[in-house]
C-alpha cells in the first residue's frame, strides 16, 4: 500500500469482520429464493425458440385448463406502455422496450425472449402447462454481428428505429444503429502525418455474461387492496420498484420491495425481468408467486455485456502518445442502450492525447438486451487501446510502463468530453507497478511473456439516504438502502464509527426495504462506499450537532463553545464539563427525546479511478493452453476503508477479466441459438485456473469525499483483457486482436490453421 497523503484514522483502514459474515458462512442469510410468504406458488416462463419472429397469435386455453394451473400471463395483461424515454435510476429507459422485454407483445427479438408465464402449485406443473401454450410465430431474418447489423441491407429489428445523436434524429431511414456519439479534439491528420510511429489494428470482443452464482428470482404478492410486496434479488430496491411501477402503471407507494441478500450482480441485477411477470401472476391467482430462472434462462434472457468491434489507429511522437483515431461499434442486444458512450469516453482516459477523433455506434442485434457489467463499456475499449499502446511502445523501443507514464493523464488533463480531471492517480499506479517486485523480476523461459495494461472508470455519485438511531446504551443502528454486494455494510459502519468516534462493534447496520428508508439509487457505478458513505458521514455530523446543542443546554454554555471530537463532548470554557458519546446518549430522554441522525443527498465529487495490471503467462503452443503464472493488480482506491474487501474487489475483477480474455464468449449458431448456455460450456475461470492475484493498493485521496474514498469495484475488470493479450503477444510473437484468446484460436493462429 502506498499512502503519501493519508491522514491517520482510528477505524478506517482496519479489517473487522463484516456484519453479514456469520449469517453468510453459516448458511442462514436469506437470498431471493428463500422468500416463503404464506400460500406461495411457483411460476414458469415460456420463452421464444426463435431469435427473431413476429408473434401471430398466443393460445393459452390448454394451459389454463391444465390441472393445478392458477394463472397464465401474457403481454396482454400488462398495461400499454408508452413509447417514451424516461430517466429511471441511473439510466434512461424506453418504457415500451422495458415492458416488451419483460413479456414480448408483437415480436420476439432474441431466443429466450419471454412470451408467456404460468403459475401453479408446483413449478413442474407450471412448466408442463407452459408447454401447452400455443404460440404461432412468423420467423424473420436474424442479424447477430454488430458490423453486419450496420449494413444498409441488414434485417431490421425495429422498422421505426432511426439513429439519434445528441438530442436529434440524424438518419432519414430506419436502421439498426440506434445512436451515434462522437468526440473530436486537435488535428488528427496533422498529428499522424508528423508521427514517429503509427499503429493501426482492428479488435473484436464477444458478448459475455457477468456470471453471478445466484440466478434471477422474484417473489411477488399482489393483495386485493392493491398493495404489492416484492422479495427481490436486486442491486437497487428503489430502481426495482420504479421499473415495476412503470411497467404495471401502479403508484410507487403501493409497491414495497424487500431487498434480499444478493448472490452476485456486477451490474446485471439492475433491470427487472421476472418481477412484473410474477406480479401479474399473483394478481390473477390471488397467491404470492415465485419465479426463478434456470442457468440457461439467465444466459439467454438476462443482460450480458456487449460484443464489440473496435478500430484503433494511434500515433507516437517524441516518446509519447500524440494522436488517436477510434471507431467503436457495440451490440446493444435487442433494444437500444449499449455502453458505447462510456467506452468511447473512457478509452483514452489514462492518457493526455491532444489529437483524437472517436466515433461510437450503439447497434441492435438479435441477442438479449445488454445490461451493465462492471465498468460497462470500458474493458473492451481498453482491450483494444492498451494493445495498440503496447505495440506502439515496442515500435519506438520504449518500456511499456514508461511509455504510458510519459503519456499519462494527470490533474487538469481534459478527457475527450472536455472534462478536466481533478486529482487522479494514474501516474501513481504506473510508478507503483514499475517499482513492484513483480515488474522488477525477470520473465524467463520459452513461450513465456509479460504484459501490462491500464484502465479507467468514472465511478458514480447519485442519490443516497440513511438514518442513524442513537440508542441509550451508546450503540447505534444505521438504516440504509444500498444493496450490499461487496461488504458495504462494513465499509459504511466503519465510516460511521470513524465519524462519531465510536467503536465499529457499536454499529448495527440494516439494509432496509423501500418503505423503511428514503430513496437510494442502485448499488452500481462503484458508488456505495463513496456516496452512501458520504450520507453516513453527514448523518454523523447531524448527530454531533444535536448532541452539541443538548450539551450546551445541559452545561449552560454557548453552543459554539461545545466541541465534539473523538467520541466525546467538551466545553471549551470549562474543561470539567465533558460527556462521552454514550453518556450523552444515556441522557437523550431527559434532554429532548431520541437522537436520530439522517441524511439524504445527491452525491457530488465521485473521483474517477485508474488501475494498472501486470500479467505473466506461459502459452503451450501444442494445446493452446494459457497458464497465468503471476498476476499483479495495482489500483488507486482513494482511501481503502476496509483494505481486505478492497483487495477482494480487485482480485474478483481481475479474475473476471482474465476469464473474459481467455475463455468466455456467447457462442451463437447462425440461427441465433446460444450454443453454450450453461456453466459446463460457458467456461469461467475457477480457482484452479488462476494464480494468487497480488494487489497493490494506491491511495491518492479523492478530494470529493471526507475520507478520500474512490469507488473500487469496477476499475479492476478494465485492464486484464489487454494485460493478458499483451502477455500472450510477448510470449508468442503474435498479436491476438479477437477475444476470447481460447486454446483453439491460439493453436489455429500459431499453426496457421483455418
Amino acid at each position: 500500500m502506498t499512502a503519501a497523503e493519508k491522514p491517520s484514522y482510528r477505524v478506517i483502514g482496519t479489517r473487522p469482520i463484516r456484519p453479514d459474515g456469520v449469517e453468510k458462512v453459516t448458511g442462514k442469510a436469506l437470498f431471493g429464493a428463500d422468500a416463503r410468504p404464506a400460500g406461495l406458488v411457483y411460476g414458469k416462463v415460456l420463452r421464444s425458440p426463435h431469435a427473431h419472429a413476429r408473434i401471430l397469435s398466443i393460445d393459452t386455453r390448454a394451459a389454463e385448463a391444465f390441472p393445478g394451473v392458477l394463472a397464465v400471463a401474457t403481454a396482454r395483461d400488462l398495461p400499454a406502455a408508452s413509447d417514451e424515454v424516461q430517466a429511471l435510476g441511473e439510466t434512461a429507459v424506453n418504457l415500451k422496450e422495458l415492458s416488451d422485454n419483460v413479456l414480448a407483445s408483437d415480436r420476439v427479438l432474441y431466443r429466450g425472449h419471454a412470451v408467456a408465464a404460468v403459475a401453479a402449485a408446483s413449478v413442474h406443473v407450471a412448466e408442463e402447462a407452459a408447454r401447452r401454450i400455443r404460440v404461432e410465430y412468423e420467423p424473420l431474418p436474424v442479424v447477430l454481428d454488430v458490423r453486419e447489423a450496420m449494413l444498409d441491407d441488414a434485417p431490421l429489428l425495429n422498422e421505426r428505429l432511426l439513429t439519434r445523436s445528441m438530442g436529434k434524429t440524424i438518419s432519414d431511414r430506419p436502421s439498426n444503429v440506434a445512436s451515434k456519439v462522437q468526440f473530436v479534439g486537435g488535428d488528427v491528420e496533422k498529428a499522424f502525418a508528423e508521427a514517429d510511429a503509427v499503429v493501426e489494428r482492428h479488435f473484436t470482443t464477444k458478448m459475455v455474461h457477468q456470471g453471478y452464482i445466484e440466478p434471477q428470482t422474484a417473489t411477488v404478492q399482489w393483495n386485493p387492496d392493491g398493495e404489492i410486496t416484492v422479495w427481490a434479488t436486486t442491486q437497487g430496491a428503489f430502481a426495482c420498484r420504479g421499473q415495476l411501477a412503470e411497467v404495471l402503471r401502479r403508484p410507487a407507494s403501493t409497491i414495497r420491495v424487500i431487498p434480499m441478500e444478493v448472490g452476485g450482480g456486477f451490474g446485471g441485477k439492475t433491470p427487472v425481468y421476472l418481477e412484473p411477470v410474477a406480479a401479474i401472476l399473483s394478481r390473477k391467482s390471488g397467491r404470492p408467486v415465485m419465479l426463478t430462472m434456470s442457468r440457461s434462462e439467465v444466459f439467454e434472457a438476462t443482460g450480458p455485456t456487449s460484443g464489440t468491434s473496435i478500430h484503433v489507429k494511434l500515433a507516437a511522437s517524441g516518446g509519447r502518445l500524440t494522436a488517436a483515431q477510434l471507431d467503436l461499434a457495440y451490440e446493444a442486444g435487442a433494444y437500444p442502450g449499449s455502453s458505447v458512450s462510456a467506452g468511447a469516453m473512457t478509452m483514452l482516459a489514462p492518457y493526455d492525447v491532444e489529437n483524437f477523433k472517436i466515433d461510437g455506434y450503439d447497434v441492435v442485434v438479435n441477442k438479449p438486451k445488454t445490461a451493465a457489467y462492471r465498468a460497462p463499456g470500458s474493458p473492451a475499449a481498453a482491450f483494444a487501446l492498451e494493445q495498440a499502446v503496447d505495440e506502439l511502445a515496442r515500435a519506438i523501443g520504449a518500456d511499456p510502463l514508461a511509455f504510458r507514464e510519459a503519456s499519462s493523464s494527470r490533474e487538469g488533463t481534459r478527457m475527450v468530453n472536455g472534462m478536466p480531471f481533478p486529482r487522479i492517480g494514474h501516474e501513481e499506479c504506473l510508478r507503483a507497478a514499475m517499482e513492484s517486485a513483480h515488474y522488477r523480476s525477470p520473465i524467463e523461459g520459452p513461450n513465456r511473456g509479460r504484459g501490462v495494461a491500464s484502465g479507467y472508470w468514472f465511478n458514480a455519485g447519485m442519490q443516497s439516504s440513511v438514518t442513524v438511531a442513537v440508542n441509550t446504551d451508546g450503540t447505534v443502528n444505521l438504516v440504509e438502502g444500498s444493496s450490499d454486494l461487496s461488504g458495504t455494510r462494513a465499509s459504511l459502519a466503519m465510516q460511521l464509527a470513524e465519524s462519531l468516534g465510536i467503536e465499529y462493534s457499536q454499529v448495527r447496520v440494516t439494509v432496509a426495504d423501500t418503505d423503511s428508508v428514503g430513496h437510494n439509487d442502485v448499488s452500481g457505478g462503484s458508488r456505495t462506499t463513496f456516496a452512501t458513505g458520504l450520507a453516513v458521514h453527514q448523518a454523523a455530523l447531524d448527530i454531533q450537532q444535536q448532541m452539541r446543542t443538548r450539551a450546551a443546554k445541559l452545561w449552560g454554555c454557548a453552543e459554539d463553545e461545545v466541541v465534539y471530537e473523538a467520541g466525546s463532548l467538551r466545553c471549551t470554557t470549562d474543561e470539567a464539563k465533558t460527556l462521552t458519546f454514550a453518556g450523552m446518549a444515556a441522557q437523550s430522554a431527559r434532554t429532548g427525546g431520541p437522537i436520530n441522525g439522517r441524511a439524504s443527498l445527491l452525491a457530488r465529487g465521485a473521483g474517477g479511478a485508474f488501475g494498472t495490471h501486470i500479467a505473466d503467462v506461459e502459452v503451450d503452443p501444442e494445446t493452446g493452453k494459457v497458464q497465468v503464472l503471476r498476476y499483479t493488480a495495482v489500483q488507486d482506491v482513494g482511501t481503502a476503508i476496509h483494505p481486505a474487501y478492497v483487495e477482494g474487489q480487485i482480485q474478483g475483477g481481475a479474475a473476471q477479466g482474465i476469464g473474459w480474455a481467455l475463455n468466455e464468449e456467447y457462442y451463437y449458431d447462425d440461427d441465433g441459438r446460444l450454443a453454450n448456455a450453461s456453466f459446463l460450456d460457458y467456461r469461467m475461470p475457477t480457482a484452479l485456473d488462476l494464480p494468487a492475484i497480488d494487489t497493490v493498493i494506491v491511495e491518492v485521496p479523492n478530494p470529493g469525499h471526507p475520507y478520500g474514498v474512490r469507488g473500487a469495484g469496477e476499475v479492476p475488470i478494465v485492464p486484464p483483457l489487454a494485460a493478458i493479450a499483451n502477455a500472450i503477444a510477448d510470449a508468442t510473437g503474435h498479436r491476438f486482436s479477437d477475444l476470447p484468446i481460447s486454446p483453439r484460436r491460439i493453436v489455429e493462429t500459431l499453426h496457421h490453421l483455418e
Binding site: 424515454v85 424516461q86 430517466a87 441511473e90 439510466t91 434512461a92 439519434r164 445523436s165 445528441m166 438530442g167 436529434k168 445512436s179 451515434k180 456519439v181 462522437q182 468526440f183 473530436v184 479534439g185 456486477f266 451490474g267 455502453s339 458512450s341 462510456a342 469516453m345 451493465a372 457489467y373 462492471r374 465498468a375 460497462p376 481534459r414 468530453n417 472536455g418 472534462m419 478536466p420 480531471f421 481533478p422 468514472f458 465511478n459 458514480a460 455519485g461 442502485v522 452500481g524 457505478g525 462503484s526 458508488r527 445527491l602 457530488r604 465529487g605 470529493g704 469496477e714
Partner: protein, 87 residues
C-alpha cells in the same frame, strides 16, 4: 466567464467552435447564452425544461443530470456529454 466545451456533433451549430466563453450564473443561463450564439443548440440538449435523458452535463469535472438552476461559477468549465450508466 464560464467556458463551455461544445460536443463534436453540435459544433456545426457553432461554426465549428469547440470552446465558447459565455456569461451565466446557472446552467440554464449558460445554455441560453450558448443558444444565442449557436441557434438550435438548446433544443438538442434540453427538453421540457430539463436536460434530455440521454444527455449529461459536467460542471467543473462533476458529471450528472443537473437541473437548469444548477449554479455555475464565473470560471467554471461546462461540458455537454452523453449520459453514462454504471455497473
Amino acid at each position: 466567464m464560464a467556458e463551455v466545451w461544445v460536443p463534436a456533433l453540435l459544433r456545426p451549430l457553432c461554426g465549428g467552435t469547440a470552446r465558447l466563453q459565455v456569461e451565466g450564473a446557472t446552467l440554464g443561463d449558460v445554455l441560453r447564452a450558448v443558444e444565442a450564439r449557436c441557434p438550435g443548440f438548446m433544443e438538442r440538449v434540453v427538453s421540457e425544461g430539463a436536460l434530455r435523458p440521454e444527455i449529461a452535463v459536467a460542471i467543473d469535472g462533476e458529471a450528472g443530470s443537473f437541473p437548469l438552476f444548477e449554479p455555475v461559477g464565473p470560471a467554471s468549465h461546462v461540458s455537454i456529454l452523453p449520459a453514462i450508466g454504471g455497473g
